[in-house]
Symmetry: C2
Subunit: 275 residues, 2 copies
């Protein structure tokens, strides 16, 4: 192979690392790929660490030890995260998106690849240290943000369903009380979808009473899986008391009524503003 220049090598290396977020690559891997010495690779990585930091493009981390190497994490700084969520809140607040019955229309936000990618990075940043083995969501609207979170964390996504389907094979079903309607519903997950003794991060689109979230926690217990955290795109201000605790939402939603008029007040959640 022709001799590769540092600028080419660095660009390719950063692209390869960012295509596989949170995965550790050994130095040897890059030495072989580029036909360069370890010392040269180390210098490249030092330079790339500076680049990503300077331009707010996430972080390169060197991991020491037997399974060591270098990994990319698409971390978002507290300031950038807050600014981004504030922008979203401005888009979602007001009267335009309030539907009859006091519901907020934000399906477009929840299925936007660009927005969910950023939200996934913000959620992942908060949970890297908890080292989940997979992300769990409940169909349907939380799937995109759960996928992007799983991508940023470098782990698989597991999707629980409303009913067990023939094409999922043997499944574990649990009943739970839906927080919004108070009715009993069923949640189902294929037995082969999850390994015992692993760690789950729950990600979903909407938290109101917490019934569905509680159901997901119970479901994980059935699989002997520990829940390391729970993240939501939106949490309602009311009811203040949820059936779960310790969760992180990105935004809070308050629908204020004044006669016939309803206004959505959407704000960044407190944990995003604390830093």
């Amino acid at each position: 192979m022709e001799k590769i220049r540092r600028n080419e090598r660095m660009s390719a290396m950063l692209k390869i690392l960012t295509d596989a977020p949170n995965q550790i690559f050994t130095l040897s891997h890059f030495c072989d790929l580029f036909g360069a010495a370890k010392s040269t690779m180390s210098e490249d990585i030092d330079l790339l660490r500076e680049v990503t930091r300077t331009f707010g493009l996430g972080e390169l981390e060197t991991v020491t030890g037997a399974a060591g190497g270098v990994r990319y994490r698409g971390t978002v700084s507290p300031r950038d995260a807050r600014a981004y969520i504030e922008g979203l809140c401005a888009n979602l607040s007001g009267v335009d998106r309030v539907l009859p019955g006091g519901f907020l229309y934000y399906s477009d936000v929840l299925s936007s690849p660009e927005i969910t990618t950023r939200m996934g990075q913000i959620i992942a940043t908060a949970y890297f240290d908890t080292a989940p083995d997979f992300v769990l969501t409940m169909e349907t609207k939380g799937i995109p943000v759960a996928l992007t979170t799983a991508y940023a964390l470098g782990v698989p996504l597991v999707i629980a369903r409303h009913n067990s389907r023939v094409y999922e094979g043997s499944a574990v079903n649990i009943n739970y009380v839906s927080g919004s309607s108070g009715s009993i519903q069923t949640m189902s997950l294929a037995r082969r979808a999850v390994r015992e003794g692993t760690r789950a991060l729950i990600v979903d689109d909407f938290l109101k009473g917490g019934g569905t979230a509680k159901g997901m926690v119970d479901l994980m217990h059935e699989f002997n899986v520990s829940v390391v955290g729970m993240a939501f795109v939106m949490a309602t201000v009311n009811p203040e008391k949820k059936r779960i605790s310790g969760e992180k939402a990105l935004m809070t939603l308050d629908i204020r009524r004044s006669g016939e008029d309803m206004t959505a007040v959407v704000k960044p959640a407190a944990w995003l503003c604390g830093q």
Copy 2:
């Protein structure tokens, strides 16, 4: 700002471009960001074009004209696409994944961030030239690959639902005949989700009879939207005749029975092998 070296500038530029696939950035944007001249930026881009080509990391394209600039497309070469899909087929073929009733278990594949990202790039590569304005899918299992396809194409994702929900606002409902069960089902999409006169690419996980796909085409006609293409992760070999035509699947599925035993034969689709 301190003077930025070419290797740092190029790495950052490629990262910024690849974070927003298929979006055009003007040269001026990068000139401002890096405090460099247009001629320098052009040289950087030429070098990056070579880098991405050499390492199979997609393509940088210069777009001329008033709205011109440079864009990144995560294109996958025919050879790489075929090799990747062949690897998936090897994983999915055999007896282990066949469930009672002759269904194939591949939910793990459909919700893997890593696999769906690659599948999305392969589908997008086939449809860049059709210039869709958005990707349409039908809940639930196709959502991840539809999201990654939309991300690669740089367009929004729109999700049709089984029933209209209160929190979607006014919706268009259509009835369609489910290909697998022959029963009449309802498909629903919020009015505000789609603009008239735009172009849709349909992406879904599974194609058997084509009833659901036909329903999505009919739904788009209700919105006065043209369908520029249809892509599926998996298409069954039987029935050979589908209710739609012109679709591209990534893989074909044939469940072969021999007494009590069932074996899945999963192959790359013909269009992936033709080149």
